[in-house]
């Protein structure tokens, strides 16, 4: 236990800013989660592994001498096709079934990806060095790496692009129609199969962007996927499906929570505290709803 964080306001500011920038990234991943959950009614446990895979694409560009920031463009394009491939092979068989089936099937994909990445890229913790330097604030008491600011900025840009795309384009309209009522959309001539594939592809592409940004700002490792899945799941259940400002807010909240947990409890309990927070949130919601004799649906 270390309460230094409350005694020095600068550390508090540092933790808040770090958390905010981190939370914007989480919100981007959670947006993809909300998209596929809302449209296809599946929960994708492999979400975090898609993020890590996207990160490795950027890392490889870095290894071959290309600046990893270009990964933000390349990684989503590759990940889109990876997403389509996963959809065609597995997801299209679990779309209409029980949610537990989709959880278990994507758990299988997650294990598969983890191990394949472990073979392909090795079990080392890696990061792609962007060489962006740092920004000093408040008399050099608060240090913000520019790469974090860059990643938050790019996340916001991608999120805005996606929102506009969903509102304006034909495919976006088809996706929203399918989310509202798949049957009616089908009757009105929407090829729902194609919409589902595109949705999953867009989700994977978002994961690719987030992964590329994570490989620049933090570190990636083949087995680090599951915490990202849990974080995005948590953000979505707090904010609710289709509530975009809510997703952004709860993402940032989670980021700040994590930074403080890191300072107060110690880094070894960071991931544990995220998972415990998930349990606490679910239990809190359950007790709140059970007063009205309802339950989480």
């Amino acid at each position: 236990m270390d309460f230094l964080v409350f005694q020095y306001p600068m550390i508090t500011i540092q933790a808040c800013l770090d958390g905010l920038l981190l939370g914007i990234l989480f919100a981007l991943i959670a947006y993809g989660m909300a998209l596929q959950w809302g449209v296809m009614n599946i929960i994708n446990i492999a979400q975090g592994d898609l993020v890590i895979l996207g990160g490795y694409i950027a890392y490889f560009m870095y290894l071959y001498g290309i600046h990893p920031a270009w990964g933000v463009i390349v990684s989503p394009i590759i990940m889109y096709f990876v997403g389509i491939a996963i959809y065609k092979l597995v997801i299209n068989k679990v779309v209409d079934r029980d949610l537990f089936i989709s959880i278990l099937a994507t758990f299988g994909i997650s294990i598969l990806f983890m191990q394949l990445m472990n073979f392909a890229f090795g079990a080392d913790v890696v990061l792609a060095n962007s060489g962006y330097g740092t920004t000093m604030l408040f008399d050099n008491n608060v240090v913000l790496p520019n790469s974090k600011i860059f990643s938050a900025f790019i996340s916001i840009v991608f999120a805005i692009c996606l929102v506009v795309y969903m509102k304006r384009s034909k495919l976006g309209r088809a996706i929203r129609a399918t989310a509202q009522n798949a049957r009616a959309a089908k009757i009105l001539g929407v090829d729902t199969e194609k919409v589902y594939a595109a949705t999953f592809g867009i989700n994977a592409a978002l994961c690719g962007v987030a992964g590329a940004l994570i490989s620049i700002t933090f570190t990636i490792h083949p087995y680090m996927g599951l915490p990202y899945t849990i974080r995005s799941f948590m953000i979505v259940i707090v904010a609710g499906l289709g509530n975009l400002p809510g997703v952004a807010m709860s993402g940032m909240g989670l980021g700040i929570f994590e930074e403080f947990a890191d300072y107060i409890l110690g880094t070894e309990f960071r991931i544990g505290s995220v998972f415990l927070l998930l349990v606490l949130i679910l239990v809190y919601r359950r007790f709140k709803l059970s007063r009205k004799r309802e339950y989480l649906k």
């Binding site: 537990f100 299988g108 598969l112 309990f269 998972f275 359950r286």
Partner: protein, 350 residues
């Protein structure tokens, strides 16, 4: 119970008792198989019968594992110094200390997780469907991460369980753990079979089929849900305690709270055999163990890839499991009355 099933049970019991002497090289494998069957069967109580698909039974398994080893050490020696010394043993259990410690440890390993399940049951079991699944997944991983940060049980470097006392060497060790796990298996089977003949099972099935209606019929569903989970926790803890001694080394995320392996295995075994049947998880666990050992031997290094593919294939193509498939094919064998004309009519309709 008719004559045939008695013959079957006695046959299996006799086979179980002589198996370590017929296949002396596979004693450890057979012990692990027994533990896997215990885990799959007890997962089935609340996963298959009650419809609450949990990824979190690994919590009780890991808890039992740590508790059994801690009690076994802590009864005779200071626990902190034991874990600090790590692999280099400064303390040695005498045979009588070892067995006393093991017995006490197994009792604690079974009882404490049951109490824990009872305590958290009211909060967790109020969640339904996929929320329950994800919540229990979170519980299991959180337990692993947190126990990996606690110094007294070895933190990140792991916890070596007391080595088997120096009597009879490796042979005796294998036989001891085999009979321990086989005993746990027999106990589990008798308990589960007894439970499945009572009204309790019907209530669990009612909860699975429609919880709201079950509640409307006047069943206090929460009471039964918690009891079901506590029964699972009891046997999971016991299995964990045995497995800890068998493996000889406890690591927080790789052995005890191994959600990526054991936590998924127990779900998968029950699904492979057929959820909601007595024999399904047993057959599933046996088949799965053969598959797994095959993978681990022939695809060394690629075993998780094969495992991932296996999970996807089982879940997508055999969600009802082996018993479900057999039931569809030969409903008469499962005691369902089938009207021959009706069946023909159905076939023609297709």
């Amino acid at each position: 119970m008719n004559k045939n099933s008695w013959i079957l049970y006695i046959g299996i019991l006799v086979f179980g008792l002589v198996a370590p002497f017929i296949f002396p090289a596979f004693k450890v494998q057979l012990s692990i198989l027994c533990v896997l069957i215990v885990l799959a069967t007890t997962w089935n109580i609340q996963g298959g019968e009650m419809g609450y698909n949990s990824f979190g039974n690994i919590l009780f398994y890991g808890l039992g594992m740590y508790l059994c080893a801690s009690v076994q050490v802590g009864m005779f020696f200071p626990l902190a110094e034991w874990t600090e010394s790590g692999g280099e043993k400064t303390f040695v259990h005498t045979p009588s200390q070892f067995f006393q410690g093991m017995a006490a440890g197994l009792v604690v390993a079974a009882v404490v997780p049951t109490i824990v399940a009872g305590l958290i049951g009211y909060s967790i079991l109020g969640l339904r469907g996929h929320y329950f699944a994800i919540c229990t997944l979170g519980l299991g991983v959180a337990a692993g991460e947190i126990s990996g940060g606690i110094e007294i049980i070895g933190a990140g470097q792991g916890f070596t369980t007391p080595p088997f006392p120096n009597i009879g060497g490796l042979e005796a060790r294998g036989e001891f753990f085999y009979f321990l796990s086989f005993g746990a298996l027999v106990l589990t089977f008798i308990a589960v079979r007894a439970i499945y003949t009572t009204r309790f099972r019907l209530i669990l099935n009612a909860i699975r089929d429609n919880e709201d209606k079950a509640e409307a019929m006047g069943i206090e569903t929460m009471k039964y849900k918690i009891s079901g989970w506590m029964i699972s926790a009891f046997f999971c803890g016991l299995a964990g305690g045995i497995m800890g001694g068998l493996v000889g080394y406890i690591d927080s995320t790789d052995v005890a709270f191994d959600g990526r392996e054991m936590g998924v295995f127990m779900v998968l075994m029950a699904i492979l055999g057929g959820k909601g049947t007595l024999w399904g998880p047993i057959i599933g666990a046996t088949l799965f163990h053969f598959f797994k050992e095959g993978f681990w031997t022939f695809f060394l290094g690629w075993q998780y890839v094969a495992l991932g593919v296996l999970i996807v294939v089982i879940v997508i193509y055999f969600p009802e499991g082996l018993m479900g498939w057999l039931r569809e094919k030969y409903p008469e064998r499962f005691g369902e009355v089938v009207d021959e004309a009706d069946r023909k009519a159905q076939v023609e309709l297709k």
